[in-house]
């Protein structure tokens, strides 16, 4: 047993976590203002924007993967632009995976943040404005610190969802060892070549990690709710 573990390649896991961490970081920075806008706006464009951001939840990963592949390949204007002016290729490498994952996991970051912001007591924000604080300072010092459970949910679920992606990654990244072969793709290949022992170990690790991650979110949230009295309505 020990021997099998020693011979096992762990790079796919490291790659999965690196990809998930980067995706989560990028999405967090991009989605914080977007979620704030969606939570506060009364614009008619709101349902339209909400539908677009939620699309990755309902679309089959193959559809998403196909469009991303199509858009980022050197034959498309976007892919050509990145290749020509920035010297960055966006398909079948790690950079491409990060871009694709950002699309794929977008709703999992936006939606918890948005509902967190929507649940904030509006009077609390107004109390801050009246105290002379700008919108930016209010978001940073009043809104964000008071949606900790939503922040935690958004970050962890985005991370976990990115670790768990398969279809999009396979289509945009292929399965290049040490570059785009993440854990889920590795398991798929192990099953294909009937290496069930490795597949079992990999899958078990995935189950355990995912469970621990979700458990920590729920434990954190129930502790926060006790401390601050829920979503401060």
């Amino acid at each position: 047993m020990l021997e099998i573990l020693q011979n096992l390649e762990f790079t796919p896991f490291l790659l999965s976590f690196k990809l998930a961490a980067l995706t989560t970081l990028i999405l967090f920075i991009l989605c914080l203002p977007l979620a704030w806008y969606l939570s506060q706006t009364k614009s008619k464009a709101k349902p339209f924007l909400e539908a677009v951001t939620a699309l990755p939840i309902v679309l089959p990963p193959s559809v998403l993967g196909f469009y991303i592949l199509f858009a980022l390949s050197q034959n498309s204007p976007i892919g050509a632009f990145f290749d020509e002016y920035l010297g960055v290729k966006l398909v079948f490498n790690f950079t491409g995976l990060v871009v694709a994952s950002c699309f794929y996991s977008l709703p999992f970051m936006v939606q918890p943040l948005q509902s967190g912001f929507e649940n904030i007591n509006k009077n609390m924000l107004e109390a801050s404005y009246v105290s002379g604080k700008s919108k930016f300072e209010t978001i940073l010092r009043v809104a964000v610190p008071n949606i900790k459970p939503a922040l935690m949910t958004a970050i962890i679920v985005t991370f976990a969802h990115t670790v768990g992606e398969f279809g999009v990654v396979l289509m945009v990244g292929g399965s290049i060892p040490d570059e785009t072969k993440v854990a889920s793709v590795a398991i798929y290949e192990m099953v294909e070549i009937m290496d069930y022992t490795s597949a079992h170990i990999y899958s078990a690790i995935m189950v355990i990690i995912s469970f621990l991650v979700l458990l920590s979110v729920y434990m954190f949230n129930s502790k926060q709710n006790k401390k601050f009295g829920g979503f401060h309505k």
């Binding site: 007591n121 107004e126 109390a127 404005y129 009246v130 002379g132 009043v142 008071n146």
Partner: protein, 284 residues
């Protein structure tokens, strides 16, 4: 002197309504804003705070907060606002809530002392009682030494004894800082104790404006007592009729004649008044 001339179309619960208010307020005055719900009181307060827009002018001394060209954002108006639901920042301790507005530690300590909150200053809002929360909220509103203090039914969620205590603290603060104050309130005793002037709104317009004693006392002519209440029941007892009326928090019985009883409907709003008797006041 504060000059307010405002106009705004409101879509209230009773259909469309024009908020049309013209007010002049002396510096240091304590104004009670009364009127039924939906009469535009809160909206007026929010317009003054800059949280809602309207047409017209707001002038505070020489500063213009609102006119045809300029709308000063709430951040620049130097106001204090006390919300009915306290609206404290749950992530900050009592002291941090105050210092968030203004980093003046001396003022914060002074305010906490007046309101007897010094010992609670490192507690989170969630661990405080309603009365304590509202005191913190009041202190927070005073932290930027506002030119105008706005309070939207600040005490209506509290029990009567806590209300009295907070009324005293509001009075103390008002005396010390001399802040021009506008408070929305429904409670006549509260208005009488705190305010130097009462403005009554109905359907967006001012229908009464004056000294609380004149506006609130309902007696007229030789009447000694006069209370408004709701008719709960009329019972026939032998040859007379007894009406049960709810006045404030209490029920009273009043004898009425058959003719009077005929004209009354249960649920009617009635006035009970009496003449010529010397009322007896005794301590409970």
């Amino acid at each position: 002197m504060i000059k307010i001339e405002l106009n705004k179309k409101l879509h209230g619960a009773n259909g469309q309504m024009d908020l049309d208010v013209n007010l002049k307020i002396k510096e240091g005055d304590f104004i009670a804003l009364a009127g039924q719900s939906g009469s535009g009181k809160t909206t007026l307060l929010r317009i003054l705070a800059g949280l809602e827009d309207a047409n017209g002018t707001i002038k505070i001394g020489e500063d213009i907060w609102l006119d045809n060209k300029n709308v000063l954002p709430p951040q620049k108006r130097e106001i204090g606002f006390v919300f009915q639901d306290y609206a404290l920042f749950p992530n900050m301790s009592v002291e941090e809530n105050l210092l968030f507005v203004n980093k003046d530690k001396k003022l914060a300590n002074h305010l906490l002392q007046i309101t007897e909150l010094s010992e609670l200053k490192s507690r989170l809002p969630n661990t405080l009682s309603g009365g304590q929360k509202q005191r913190v909220s009041l202190c927070r509103a005073m932290m930027n030494r506002p030119k105008l203090l706005l309070m939207d039914e600040p005490l209506s969620a509290l029990d009567p004894s806590m209300r009295t205590k907070l009324q005293n603290e509001i009075l103390t603060l008002h005396k010390e800082f001399g802040t021009t104050t506008i408070m929305v309130s429904h409670d006549p005793s509260e208005i009488y104790r705190l305010a130097s002037r009462i403005v009554v709104l109905d359907q967006g317009v001012i229908i009464d404006d004056g000294v609380p004693k004149d506006v609130l006392l309902k007696t007229s002519g030789s009447q000694k007592f006069s209370f408004e209440g709701e008719l709960l029941d009329i019972k026939k007892v032998d040859v007379i009729y007894v009406a049960i009326i709810s006045i404030g928090q209490q029920l009273v019985e009043v004898v009425v004649s058959q003719d009077e009883a005929k004209n009354l409907k249960i649920g009617d709003s009635v006035r009970v008044s009496t003449k010529a008797f010397a009322p007896i006041l005794s301590q409970k």
